[in-house]
């Protein structure tokens, strides 16, 4: 899968940094996640835990 991603990135000529900095795309992702999921308290707790672990 990673090879395939690299193939697509090379062909499109898009760097990872450029894509990741696009806040609108991140917002779209957030919107999708929030609305589709109707995020439960359990998921929030898990996200919080993961966030704390990352730091």
């Amino acid at each position: 899968m990673h090879d395939l991603v690299a193939v697509a990135e090379r062909a499109i000529g898009e760097s990872k940094a450029q894509l990741d900095n696009d806040q609108s795309r991140a917002l779209a992702a957030q919107v999708t996640a929030e609305i589709v999921a109707e995020v439960s308290a359990e998921a929030s707790a898990r996200a919080l835990e993961e966030g704390l672990q990352r730091r």
Partner: protein, 487 residues
């Protein structure tokens, strides 16, 4: 591979046949496909084709209904060339809710473990049970976590407030990009807590100091906004970065109101329980764009002919591995949409017109001609404070206007026994129209004008030709039955 133009086909063929799809890799590919340009657009089509292959292969091997229908066995990716998006699933049966609801067990995959049972709201008929597997919940959680990763960078993760939708059974658990607070508006205690949560300041290491995103059903978000204003609070002072609404039709008037009240962009979501995903209204063209991981078609009502531009029924396919336990291949959503080929991105662009069964059409000279779309009627009625709306939050005593977000009282009938046939639109006012007759006439004229100008209908043309007559009648409060829950 040196030639970038060959990339989409290579991605399609390798992704279609790899043993396991990595959610992070797929999120990355879909992000690349959402960039501007021809190559990303072709990548999107390649991803759809590859996932269609995986979806159909899985369904015909593991799901009784698909196994018993030979059309799915015959389906194959075109060898050596990408094919056209409109041809991807052509020839496969189109499913509808009645078919699935009649025998839901035949649509359940045998290779997955039941993780959650959801259902459609039942607002337009018998609720359809929606089975979700443990495996698909894990995949979608990982996929959305990767998609929202950039939002967690920069040392400060956002706090969001979600007003959960309790109308669809067990929620699908997905990770929030930051800290997701959960509250509601459907009783006084909940609403007070929500008002406190959205206006509070927080001191949580690693997180923002206030709620930055608000999401929920459109009527819930409207009620909360109205409540804050009634209490003298300025929603704009909260400092939200985004509001997203779903679960109903957000008329343009209410989208503008929310944008002005909160001082931030409003994302209007089109979603349905049967498919994980949906569409978001684009900030550039103001139309809905399908989420990249969902495949959409617009077909002629009554046939499977594709519609390139104009009104048609929206047919969606949920791809494996996003949906695994109850695959929906070419599922007729029951919704009419207006398809646009406006060049704004590669995703299917459309405007929601309302439920197919609630739109009004007339057979004229052997052709179906549309006369009225429910969403257009709702859009004009939402602009008119004279029109009575459903007091959907009648038990929430701390709110003075409990109609915010409620659908307007209106009834539409086509009387074919008249010559010419009469399209009667009854609109219930908050007052007796005889007490303010000039104003009632203005309301009627405005509604009629908008309906005649409604894109995609032939009302004005047929009226001019004497083939139909429109009459808008304003009626006193209490005259009409409660409107349906959805347009």
């Amino acid at each position: 591979m040196d030639d970038p133009a060959l990339m989409p086909l290579q991605v399609r063929d390798r992704l279609a046949r790899m043993a396991r799809v990595d959610p992070g890799g797929l999120a990355r590919l879909f992000s690349l496909s959402s960039l501007e340009g021809d190559l990303p657009a072709r990548l999107l089509h390649a991803l759809h084709a590859a996932l269609a292959h995986r979806t159909i292969a899985h369904a015909r091997a593991n799901v009784p209904w698909y196994r018993e229908h030979p059309e799915y066995s015959r389906w194959a990716l075109p060898e050596g060339y990408p094919g056209r998006p409109s041809e991807l699933l052509a020839g496969l049966p189109v499913l509808d809710r009645t078919l699935v609801a009649a025998a839901p067990a035949r649509f359940a995959a045998e290779d997955t473990a039941l993780g959650a049972l959801g259902h459609t709201s039942g607002s337009t008929g018998t609720p359809l049970p929606v089975r979700r597997s443990v495996e698909e919940a894990e995949f979608t959680a990982a996929y959305f976590a990767h998609l929202s990763e950039p939002l967690a960078r920069g040392g400060r993760r956002p706090i969001s407030l979600n007003l959960p939708n309790a109308y669809h059974g067990t929620p699908l658990r997905l990770p929030a990009p930051g800290l997701s607070l959960s509250s509601g508006v459907t009783d006084d205690l909940l609403l007070a807590e929500t008002a406190r949560a959205v206006t509070a300041r927080y001191d949580l290491p690693g997180y923002g100091t206030h709620v930055e995103y608000l999401s929920g059903l459109v009527n819930h978000v409207l009620l909360l906004t109205g409540h804050l204003l009634e209490q003298g609070s300025d929603p704009g002072a909260v400092g939200l970065r985004g509001v997203s609404v779903a679960g109903g039709t957000a008329a343009p008037h209410w989208r503008r109101f929310l944008r002005a009240a909160w001082g931030c962009p409003v994302t209007d979501r089109f979603t349905l329980t049967e498919v994980v995903g949906g569409a978001s209204r684009c900030r550039r063209c103001d139309l809905f764009h399908l989420d990249p991981h969902v495949f959409g078609e617009v077909l002629e009502p009554g046939s499977s002919a594709p519609v390139a531009e104009g009104p048609g029924r929206l047919v969606l396919t949920a791809f494996h591995p996003f949906v695994q336990m109850q695959p929906m291949v070419r599922y007729d959503t029951g919704d009419l949409v207006m398809r646009f080929d406006n060049g704004c991105g590669p995703a299917l662009a459309f405007e929601f017109l309302g439920k197919h069964g609630r739109a009004v059409s007339l057979e004229h000279r052997g052709r179906r001609r549309w006369l009225l779309f429910p969403a257009e009627l709702n859009a004009v009625l939402a602009e008119l404070p004279d029109v009575r709306a459903v007091e959907w939050a009648s038990n929430v005593r701390s709110v003075h206007d409990r109609t915010l977000g409620g659908l307007p009282y209106a009834r539409v009938r086509l009387d074919a026994s008249c010559r010419p046939p009469e399209l009667l639109v009854e609109v219930e006012l908050r007052y007796g129209p005889h007490f303010h007759s000039a104003r009632a006439e203005e309301v009627g004229a405005r509604v009629a004008g908008r309906l005649r100008a409604s894109a995609g209908t032939a009302l004005a043309e047929l009226e001019a030709g004497g083939a139909v007559r429109l009459r808008v009648a304003c009626v006193p409060p209490g005259s009409l039955p409660e409107p349906a829950l959805k347009l």
